[in-house]
Structures are given as structure tokens and as C-alpha cells.
Amino acid sequence: MEIDMKNLHPLEVRLLRHVQAGEEITTERIVQELNYKVGQCNQAFSWLEGKSCIQEKRRDTQILYELTDLGRSYKEEGFPAERIFKLIRNDGPKSMPEIAESLGLENRDVGSAFGQLSKSGILEMNGERKVTAAADSLPESITILKELVSRGDTAPLMEAELTKDEKKHIKGISKKRGAASAPFKISEREVVVYTLTEKGEKLRQQLIESGMTGEELGALTPEILSTGSWRGKNFRSYNVQSPPTRVLLGRRNPYNAYLTWVKDKLISLGFEEFDGPLVETEFWNGDALFMPQFHSARDIHDVYYVKNPSHAESIEQPYLDQIASAHEDGWKTGSRGWGYSFDHDFTRRQVLRSQGTVLSAKTLPKAKVPGKYFGIARCFRYDQVDATHGADFYQTEGIVLGKEVNLRTLLGLLKMFAEEVAGAEEVRYVPGYFPFTEPSIEVHIKHPKLGWFELGGSGIFRPEVSKSLGVDVPVLAWGLGIDRMALMHLGLNDLRELFTPDIERVRLRRGK
């Protein structure tokens, strides 16, 4: 597989350019020669090995000397021997306990340091059993040890890198176990030795040819800008195709965005929005729509009843009387009515709104003529919840009032919806049935993707409805089944998904 130079990290680039084919590549070397931190170096090795640019040649076991806390204190304060020597030189002869006390050392440490120095003839014990100086300077071994603790403080010392002399001395003050009492701890480490592969060599040549050095500028910072240090330098070029990290953003729910789109569409067609409460009376939910009170569609199993208060206090007049008469004998609507005795108690029974047409009916008493109205209303049905039935759902409904509206303008309106809202290619009208409209029309459309389906129902409000609610002109009433289109728009096939509580699913959901 070809490697894009842009996918190389600056650490890899610099390393590749630095080494030659056949050379041994080790952490120590790179740390030393390229001034990498050990971690950076290991990272670069792992990346390059992953890309088959370098390969493992062998593993060496290496002995390391790590400075202990004691060693660190020797570095700061000096070795006991050194300190004793200085004390004696400055203050004159002292007894061993005196030395221990002034330097804050343990007696045995003083003893062992004295032992060493007296062996090399630097210190000696006088007749008063006091320690006195026998030479002007410390032995060379102390200088070597001081040098070792100093170097050992930045990084562990590798045995392979120590001189013969240094090795001799460091061994004397190091321990493998119980190292707390020694300045150095001895440990062993495996060192991997790499060499450049053929692929690595090829890449190296490419890098040299391209002039990419790994010293290019990374992120542009305010500092680089304020100092102008970018001048004359190259910028590291990024792999623009590498996948970006994910971002969480504030966002509309795509289903609601779709409903908003439908609303805006209807507004643009001259419709004014209406809205209403979730709790309705049987009066508005059914009676006002001229559904006989004891119609099978109104049996208890189709609507949700409110437990308490079970009945509204009153129903708006004169509409109650007018609707009641329309049911009984037609009132002044020209109808013979249903011919039964209207139940004034039942009509106040409270339900959860089961159809959007309720809002159309409630709009009639205050509607302008000519006027166009619509609403997207949350409705509730007593249904088993499944992929095609929700406990609550939206219905899109509306009305058009006007002296001149008629069947043909209704068909025109439906055609406009079919084209504008559903993107339909063909429209077909078939007679329909709704208790509150006569004539009633269903509009079927041929959708580019879904084929033929019923887009909605419509009709001209029965005079028993419109006249009883104070309107003397014809009223076109329509409802659109937009959920099906919404599902398609969202790439879903289950109505329950529209109201999912799952955050991730909503985050990932997109509308077309």
C-alpha cells in the first residue's frame, strides 16, 4: 500500500530523514541525536513500524541505573564523604558523633564514609579520637560519583554508555533490591533495535525529494501571528481526507422541521393557522360535526374520556341549541335531522380531541368570509399502539370559506395540495364518506416514490354543521394524511419512531 507523505507525523518525517539504510535505530540514539523525548520516540517507532517503514532487527537487554531518592539527596547535598571532608577542612578536627550531629547523618554512615576516606589516605583519626584531614582534596572517585548522580537525575544511566571507570564506581553504590538505601537502583530493560525497511527507504527518498523536513509549522497560533515567526517557513500540509471528529450540535427535530415546512407551505397559500385545547367536549368533538350521538363511531372504544371533570360546565350558545335542533329536526338548515332526542348531558362529556376537524368547526363562528384556515392538531384515539397507530398523532386539517367556493374549487385546492405539499405527479378524485361533509371527496395521488395512495379527505361541510355554527356560505373542509409522507421524508416505516425518546436516534435522523 502506498503511503501518503501527508499522513506522516512530523516526528516520523524527521526520524526518517535522519537515519540511513542499514543503520541501527534505537531510542537512545534518536533521543540523543534528534532531541526527542523518550515517549515521542517510542510513538514514532510504533507509527513507522505500523507502516512497515522500519522493522525490528533484534532485542538487547540493557542494564540501567536509576537514581533513587537517596541518590537525589546526594546530588543536592553532596555525598557523605564529601560533606565530612569539607566539614573537617573548614572547622578542624571533630569526633565522629560530632560530625554526625553537625551534618545530620547517622553514625554508621559517618563511619562507613570515614572508612572509605581513611583507606585512600584522605582522612585519619588523631590521638584524641578526632577525625583530621590528611590530604588537600577528595579522591577522584568522588568526582566521578558526583558526575554520575548529576547525569542520572535527567535520565537513567545505561550501562553500555558508561566508561569502564564509571562502571566500576557505580556498581559500588548501586543495588538491585532494597535500593532505597543506595543512590542507584539497578534494573534491566529490553531495547529494540530497528532498521529501515525498503519501503522506509523509499519513503525517505520521497521526503528528501519533496523537501518535507518535519520542521513545518503545525497549528497556527496567535503567538506565531504576533511574532511573525511564520515568515519564511512552510506549513505542514494536512490530509484533507482524514475523517473529522464528531461534533454535537443544536438542531431541529426533523419531523417537526417537516411539519414546519408544511405550515409554511400552507401560510404561503394564504391559510391562517388555528389551534385549540387538548381536552374537548363531545359537543365539539362530534355533535357539532353532525355525527349522531349514538353513531357506532362514537361508542366508548373510539375516544378517550376525561375522568374528572367528566363534563364541561356549559357549551357555547347559541351553537348548542342550534346544533341540538339540527340533530333533532334539522333546525333552519334545510335538513330533516337525525330525528332523535338530543342528549344535553352527553354533549358536555369531556374527551381528548380525536380529530383535527374539531378545530375547523370551532373556527367557523369567528371565521372571516372569504377565509382560509388550517391547523396541525395533536389528536388521541383509543387504539392499540403499533407501527401504524399511535396513542397520539398529528392531523392536518383546514377549511376554506367563500361565497364562490364549490366542488370544482375544492378539486382545485386538492390538486394544489397534491402538487405543492406532496409533489404528486397525478391526482385522482374518488367519492368519499365523512359524516360532516356532503359531497365528500378523497384525493388519491401518484407519488414519485410511494405510488398511488390516499393523500387526504375533504368535502363541503354539511349545512347542518356550517349553518348551525353561524356560517351561511359554503365551507370546504379538508384533511391531509401527511404522516405517511413524513415517514418517507425521514426514511422511517414505524409511526412510533416519530416520537422516539432516544437521543442518539434523533441526533442521527435526517430529513430528505
Binding site: R252, E273, V279, I300, S310, E313, S335, P370, M416, Y433
Partner: protein
């Protein structure tokens, strides 16, 4: 919507010719019917009927009759209907109604058929028609129940009366032994299904012949003897009992016309009532009771949006199987015996519309200028949504119904002021939400695996009890938003609340809240224009635990209607 199954052979015989599937699809809309399927192996066509006011279409014969006339056939003339002026001779076929049934199930109608043995298709169709009519039109036998009997076993006059449920016994269909009427409603499957219609009455409806041999216990079950009709029977007696006389007469007419179309002779039966009915004390059935109906041609033209003259109206109605005449700029129709759905002139207009063919009505674009406008609440919500999205919140949409567990128990709430459903389908949908908070917490509880932070919101409706309202309830537009993350708390949410109200240009005050849903001392009530407009804070760990949430969560809920008004 009723669905029927028609035997293809008999359906096409009624239609006078065979139709392809495509032809059926084209013609069915005339009867507001839809082709549901066609089982070629069984020869069964499945059809859905959409007009609940046209029960005459819910049978093979009835649907075929409508389609046949639309295709140019003549509407049949039925010569066996008595009416207010003319009564046919019912011979010995009389049903006597007793006074003691008036309060329970006062009406019975009936007729007999003869002329040829009943074949299997007719019997099947008759049973189906009975089921559909009694279920959909007769409100599950409450207002109409129908029984069919072997007429040869009956000695007229038949008696219809209220019977003591413990004293009267007979062997019902599907059983071997005699049961009392009360035992039937307790033990028989049909008794358990339909018994409740009469169970609370002192006397149960009962039909016997003149010797006391049992016909049936309507609306529940027939006797196993007289009521067990079989293929090959030549004489049948059909009765219908119920509470609405006109509906019963109409249903009897529908069944009689269907059977006449199938080639049977209809024999009238006289019903003798001891009390007055709207058609007198003696009614000979089938009985034509419909009043003539009319529509002004001007009215027809106005609603259809084009000029319709008398001839055009008459022709269109003829295709619908309706005879009519034109007089003085109005069309007068003779309502067919099997229909009673002409309440208003608009009902005639619809038949003219269909009779003319839907393809002959040309759409025109509405051209009246009206102003489109959103509700002020919607406009306000849209502005708030923009701010929430700017704050980084994902919009959610939730169901408005939920359970006691979610809305009350998990929320450390008493449930005061919540709207409860009297007839819940399941305990999962028993309450209307009075807060968006449970939905937000449900989201958090199911989204533990989604990358944090979680910042979500919804603007939607809630409802709660409000005694000052006529309905005793109020519906409001609420904003709810929730933030959940390892370092989420009161302060972050406070900043967000402040941003929303700053950009909506509303002054507000905060007051420490003691709402048990929040951690004490880390929740505030929001006041706008002196009214309590909402609450926010850190959700109480006990609530989080109830929802199985293991992430600090803070929620704010604001009443947008109040905030909108306090401008």
C-alpha cells in the same frame, strides 16, 4: 368501515357480466367501495365499504345493484312494499307484539321468502349481511338484531313478548341441552357477547310461535330447531328486533330487496302492535316509509360549480339507481326502498356528482386572496427554538400520554392537577402530561450510551386541571429543556435560562424553589410579570435513581404562554 366478502360467481351474476380487477377498481368508487383483495382459488372478492350511511351496499346483491345501474342498467322495481296508502295481504303471516316488551326492545319487523330452495351462496351472503347490518348499522345488535328461521316449522301468529329469564327455557344453537334465558347469557358464547344488552331488564325479549315453540331469544341466539336454517330450505321467515323502528324497517327492506334480486318471492308479514308506533298499530312489512326529497337545481349548480339542468340531474340520478322528475327548477327524487340517507338536498347533490362521473368535474384553482398567518404562539415558539438551537440543544418530540409510574411515581409527585383518562387502553397511556420533564428524563434514561453532553428540548403542549376554566382544564404551550453531563448543574442551566429570556426580551426574577423533583437549594422558580412562569434546577438524585439515570441532570420548564403575555 364494514368489509364484506363476495363470491365472485354470484357477484358477477348480479352484475350481469364479469369484471377484471382493473375494471372493478375503476367502478368501485361509485359505491365508495375499495377492492381489498381477490382470492382466485376460493373465488372470493374482498371489499371494503366506506359509507356508513349506505348499509344497502354492504352485501353482494346491494353493491352489484349500485354498480349495475351506474353502468346503465335500470334500477329494479320492487312490487312487494306496503306503504301508508296500500297494504299487501299477509295471509296468515302475523306477528303479535305484547305490551310487556315495550320498555325493553319494543319493535319487531319481518317477512318471509319462498319460491326456490336456498343455495349455499345465498345463505352465506344472508348470514354476512345480517352480521354487517347488525354490527355496524345496528350498533352491535343494540339497535338491530336479525334472525332467520325455517318457516315451515312455524305456526302463525308468532308471539313477541317479554319473558321471565328464569322461567323460559329452550335449546339454543350450538348447544345440546335446554337452558334458561339467564343461563344462556351466562354460559353461551353468544350470551356472554350480547347478553349485556338486555341483562339489566326484568323481562327478556322472546319469540315463539303460536304453539309456544321457540324461535329465538333476541338479540342473543336462535333456537336449535326452528332457528337452524340449512341449504335446501324453501321457506324462510326473517325477523328483526330493536329499538329504532325506521332503522328496522330499512334493514328489512335492504334484506328483502337483496333476496328479491336473487330470485326469491317476498311474502309480506303483518306486525300487530298493542301500542302506537309512528306508522300505526299494524305494519305490513316490507314497508316503504321514505318521504320524497328534492333539491333546487340552482343549489345543485352552485355546489357543483357548473350549470346542471333538469335532464342532466335526472340522468345522473338514474345512474345512481334513483328515479326522479323535474318540476319548477327543482329535482324531486323517489328515494329507493333500501336507502334512507337523504337528510338534506346536499345528499342529492352528492348522488348527482357521482352519477355524472368524477372525471367530468374539472378542477379550478381557488382565486380568492386571503392572508396567511401563523398563530402568535407558533411565532413565539419559533423564536424560542432558534435560541435553544443556538445554545446547542437538540429538539425532541414526545407523546402526550403516559403512565402513572412515569408521570407521578418516578417524579416524587402527588399527581395533583393531572388529567386522567377514564377509559385507558392500557396503563401506559392513562394520563395526559402536565409537564415535559418526565419525557426528558425518559430520554436520558434510554440514552446512556449516546455521547455526552446531552442537551435536548421540546416545545409542546401540556394540560392540567384548572377549575376556573369551563372545561376545568387548561392546555398550555411549554418549553422544557434538559442538560446532562458529568459537570452539569444549576449554574449552567441558569446561564441558559438567562440567555433565553434575555433574547426574548423578558425581565424575570428568581426565587428559591422547594419543588421535590429538584435538589433542595439548587432549584429556582422563574417569575415573569409577577406570574410564576416556570422552574429549573438540578434533578434530585432520588428522581434520577427512579429513572435509572447515572448522570447529573438539570432541567428547566417554562410556560411560554405566560412568558409571551408578560411582554
Amino acid at each position: 368501515m364494514p368489509k364484506i366478502e363476495a363470491a365472485a360467481d354470484s357477484f358477477f351474476e348480479f352484475l350481469g357480466k364479469s369484471y377484471s380487477e382493473e375494471e372493478l377498481e375503476t367502478v368501485f368508487p361509485v359505491a365508495k367501495a375499495e377492492l381489498d383483495g381477490w382470492d382466485r382459488d376460493e373465488g372470493i372478492i374482498k371489499i371494503e365499504l366506506n359509507d356508513t350511511n349506505r348499509p344497502d351496499l354492504w352485501s353482494t346483491a346491494g353493491l352489484a345493484r349500485q354498480l349495475r345501474t351506474y353502468k346503465g342498467g335500470d334500477a329494479p322495481l320492487y312490487d312487494f312494499f306496503s306503504n301508508a296508502e296500500e297494504t299487501f295481504d299477509s295471509d296468515k303471516r302475523v306477528v303479535q307484539v305484547h305490551e310487556n316488551i315495550q320498555k325493553t326492545r319494543p319493535y319487531i319487523v319481518g317477512f318471509s321468502i319462498a319460491g326456490k330452495p336456498v343455495d349455499e351462496a345465498t345463505l352465506k351472503d344472508l348470514i354476512q349481511t345480517q352480521e354487517k347490518l347488525c354490527w355496524n348499522f345496528g350498533r352491535k345488535r343494540k339497535s338491530i338484531a336479525m334472525g332467520v328461521y325455517r318457516s315451515d316449522l312455524i305456526e302463525f301468529p308468532v308471539q313477541y313478548f317479554g319473558a321471565d329469564p328464569d322461567a323460559y327455557r329452550f335449546v339454543p344453537l350450538q348447544m345440546e341441552e335446554e337452558l334458561s334465558l339467564r343461563e344462556i347469557i351466562e354460559k353461551h358464547p353468544k350470551g356472554r357477547e350480547f347478553g349485556p344488552i338486555v341483562a339489566n331488564d326484568a323481562l327478556f325479549p322472546f319469540i315463539t310461535d303460536n304453539r309456544g315453540k321457540v324461535l329465538s331469544f333476541p338479540p342473543v341466539i336462535n333456537s336449535a330447531e326452528i332457528g337452524a336454517v340449512q341449504v335446501g330450505d324453501e321457506h324462510l321467515f326473517i325477523e328483526l328486533t330493536g329499538t329504532e323502528l325506521k332503522d328496522l324497517l330499512l334493514t328489512a327492506s335492504i334484506v328483502a330487496c337483496d333476496l328479491a334480486d336473487a330470485g326469491f318471492t317476498i311474502e309480506p308479514v303483518k306486525i300487530e302492535y298493542p301500542f302506537d308506533t309512528e306508522f300505526g298499530q299494524e305494519i305490513t312489512v316490507p314497508y316503504y316509509f321514505q318521504e320524497p326529497a328534492k333539491a333546487e337545481l340552482k343549489h345543485v349548480s352552485r355546489l357543483l360549480g357548473e350549470h346542471i339542468d333538469g335532464e342532466a340531474a335526472v340522468q345522473a340520478l338514474k345512474r345512481m339507481g334513483i328515479y326522479s322528475i323535474v318540476d319548477d327548477e327543482a329535482v324531486y327524487i323517489t328515494v329507493p326502498e333500501y336507502r334512507n340517507d337523504f337528510l338534506h338536498a346536499v345528499d342529492i347533490v352528492e348522488d348527482i356528482m357521482i352519477g355524472r362521473g368524477m372525471e367530468n368535474h374539472e378542477p379550478i384553482m381557488p382565486n380568492t386572496f386571503t392572508l396567511g398567518r401563523l398563530t402568535p404562539e407558533e411565532e413565539f415558539s419559533r423564536k424560542v427554538k432558534d435560541i435553544m438551537i443556538g445554545l446547542g440543544y437538540q429538539e425532541m418530540m414526545y407523546n402526550y400520554l403516559g403512565s402513572k409510574k412515569d408521570y407521578i411515581d418516578k417524579m416524587r409527585s402527588t399527581g395533583e392537577g393531572i388529567v386522567q383518562i377514564a377509559n385507558p387502553m392500557s396503563e401506559n397511556y392513562e394520563f395526559v402530561r402536565n409537564s415535559i420533564m418526565p419525557a426528558l428524563l425518559e430520554s436520558e434514561s434510554v440514552s446512556g450510551n449516546a455521547v455526552y453532553p446531552h442537551e435536548i428540548f421540546e416545545i409542546g403542549k401540556v394540560a392540567f386541571l384548572e377549575p376556573s376554566e369551563n372545561s376545568g382544564t387548561a392546555t398550555r404551550n411549554y418549553l422544557g429543556f434538559m442538560a446532562a453531563d458529568s459537570d452539569m448543574g444549576f449554574n449552567q442551566l441558569n446561564s441558559h435560562v438567562s440567555a433565553v429570556l434575555f433574547y426574548m426580551q423578558r425581565d424575570y426574577k428568581l426565587k428559591e424553589s422547594v419543588d421535590p423533583r429538584f435538589i433542595p437549594g439548587r432549584a429556582a422558580e422563574v417569575f415573569c410579570g409577577g406570574k410564576r412562569a416556570g422552574v429549573f434546577g438540578e434533578i434530585h438524585p432520588e428522581v434520577l435513581e427512579n429513572w435509572g439515570i447515572q448522570m447529573p441532570t438539570a432541567i428547566c420548564e417554562l410556560d411560554l404562554d405566560i412568558i409571551m403575555q408578560c411582554d
